[in-house]
């Protein structure tokens, strides 16, 4: 066999790919989505709390948010997952009987995502023009209601693309829960690919996993670009007749 066909067999053996697909479809894909979605939602919630602490007038709150963010952004994901998953696993098992590594895996992913999402929200909120807060307060709203109803919604809107990127990162990082040891049905895309690859001495199942990841992440990347453009240019407004007339009028004057 020449080198080319050996490589083709290693990465694109259709027999092995066909073999692994049903497992990936029946639960691998779902498990990956559950991990990413759950940690995305929890991370977003915690991230908002961190962002609000980060811009709070209370210096203690700001410090706590700062330290938390520095720690969780500064550590390798695999280390956090192992420390939390293995470290708290026995305790969780004793207290609740749960053996699945999912709750702690999700917790670890959420805690890390929160640090990034918190920074995204904070920068978004702080990028809102100071005049917005001032105008709201001048109308008679207090500081808290002004932030809640006027400033924060604008800040969040403007960071939706960055938030989406964070979710894409979670889809990829969810593969790291394999380090906690997954039982058969707990396996997600990567672990399934990895098991089939090891059993068959062939990398094609991992290529299949890669295709699943790309099928999730590429459309999301493009959705991000779409939202980004949309936010930048504003959605197309229907021009009212008199505006159109004004434009025509301008043309006539020019």
């Amino acid at each position: 066999m020449d080198a080319w066909s050996r490589l083709a067999d290693t990465f694109l053996n259709w027999g092995y790919i066909a073999e692994v697909l049903p497992t990936m479809f029946s639960y691998g894909l779902l498990n990956t989505i559950v991990l990413a979605l759950a940690s995305g939602l929890i991370g977003t919630f915690l991230g908002i709390v961190l962002a609000l602490m980060g811009i709070s007038r209370n210096p203690v709150a700001r410090w706590v948010a700062r330290i938390y963010t520095d720690i969780f952004r500064g550590l390798p994901a695999v280390l956090v997952i192992l420390v939390i998953g293995l470290g708290f696993g026995p305790l969780l098992n004793e207290l609740t009987g749960i053996r699945s590594p999912y709750p702690l895996g999700i917790a670890a992913l959420s805690l890390m995502a929160a640090a990034y999402i918190g920074e995204i929200f904070r920068s978004g909120i702080q990028s809102v023009d100071k005049g917005q807060l001032e105008a709201s307060r001048a109308l008679g709203f207090g500081y808290g209601p002004s932030m809640r109803m006027i400033v924060v919604p604008q800040g969040i809107r403007r960071v939706l693309p960055a938030l989406m990127n964070q979710f894409i990162a979670l889809i990829k990082e969810s593969s790291l829960v394999f380090t906690l040891g997954l039982m058969s049905r707990e396996r997600e895309l990567f672990q399934i690919g990895q098991d089939f690859a090891a059993n068959n001495g062939n990398q094609s199942p991992l290529v299949a996993a890669a295709i699943f990841y790309l099928a999730l992440t590429i459309p999301l990347t493009h959705l991000v670009n779409y939202i980004d453009n949309r936010l930048r240019t504003g959605k197309e407004q229907k021009h009212e007749p008199d505006e159109a007339a004004a434009v025509i009028g301008k043309g006539a004057h020019a």
Partner: protein
């Protein structure tokens, strides 16, 4: 007859420092009910800060503020600001809300009007500034002059007793200034108590009843437009007028 339940406004010996920068150094100002005072002076003299101190967006370090003769320093500052409308140089409309919602929002949340009544009142206010037909669009689709008129409608909808204008026409293209000034003149002749920080000497001279010249955080001259524009007493005002006129 005044269309507004406006009140007089008094600032007494107002002091404010940002750190070591003493921006207001004992300002006394009195604006009679239903009259317009224009505040003029070089950039950095503390005009904007004076407005923000008088509606307590910034708390004064010292001095007193009276609305209709009564000190308001012990009142809830949020409630005080509902009684004083403010219009900014940069409009500061809420870009994520429609033009109508910009006006209706505070009516629902602060004046606690039911939704449809707040909307009806917002349309009414927008009608007065000639922009009722824009209620459904986002502010960004309007010209600067239109945005500023919406900002005025938003402030007036709260039924304020006093209106503040902080260089309301400075950010506008020259051809749009007139419309906004005309609206402000109408308000003045309808009896709104107004404090107008402005570089528009025409407005200051012809519309306002009183002119306050500030420089370096103090009121240097204060009097009728005729007094200040035809017989400026101080060298500082003479120099300022010769620079701007």
């Amino acid at each position: 007859m005044s269309q507004f339940t406006s009140g007089s406004l008094t600032g007494k010996n107002l002091h404010l420092a940002f750190g070591s920068n003493k921006v207001l150094r004992g300002i006394d100002i009195h604006v009679e009910k239903g009259t317009a005072a224009s505040v003029i002076g070089p950039s950095g003299s503390g005009k904007s800060t004076l407005l923000r101190v008088m509606n307590r967006l910034i708390e004064p370090d010292q001095g007193d503020i009276l609305l209709d003769g009564r000190s308001v320093l012990k009142d809830n500052p949020d409630e005080l600001r509902r009684r004083i409308g403010m219009v900014f140089q940069q409009f500061n409309l809420f870009p994520h809300k429609s033009v109508g919602e910009n006006v209706a929002f505070a009516l629902r949340k602060l004046r606690k009007l039911p939704k449809d009544q707040a909307w009806a009142e917002a349309l009414d206010q927008l009608d007065k500034v000639g922009l009722k037909h824009k209620a459904g669009v986002r502010p960004a689709t309007l010209s600067g002059g239109q945005q500023q008129r919406v900002a005025i409608a938003r402030a007036l909808a709260m039924k304020p007793e006093v209106m503040f204008f902080d260089e309301a026409t400075s950010a506008l293209d020259p051809e749009l200034v007139k419309g906004v000034l005309a609206l402000m003149s109408d308000l003045a002749s309808d009896g709104m108590t107004m404090v107008v920080v402005t570089h528009e000497m025409g407005f200051s001279r012809n519309v306002s009843n009183q002119v306050v010249f500030m420089d370096g955080g103090v009121v240097v001259e204060n009097g009728s437009p005729d007094q200040l524009f035809t017989e400026p007493k101080t060298e500082r005002l003479q120099k300022f007028l010769s620079d701007v006129l």
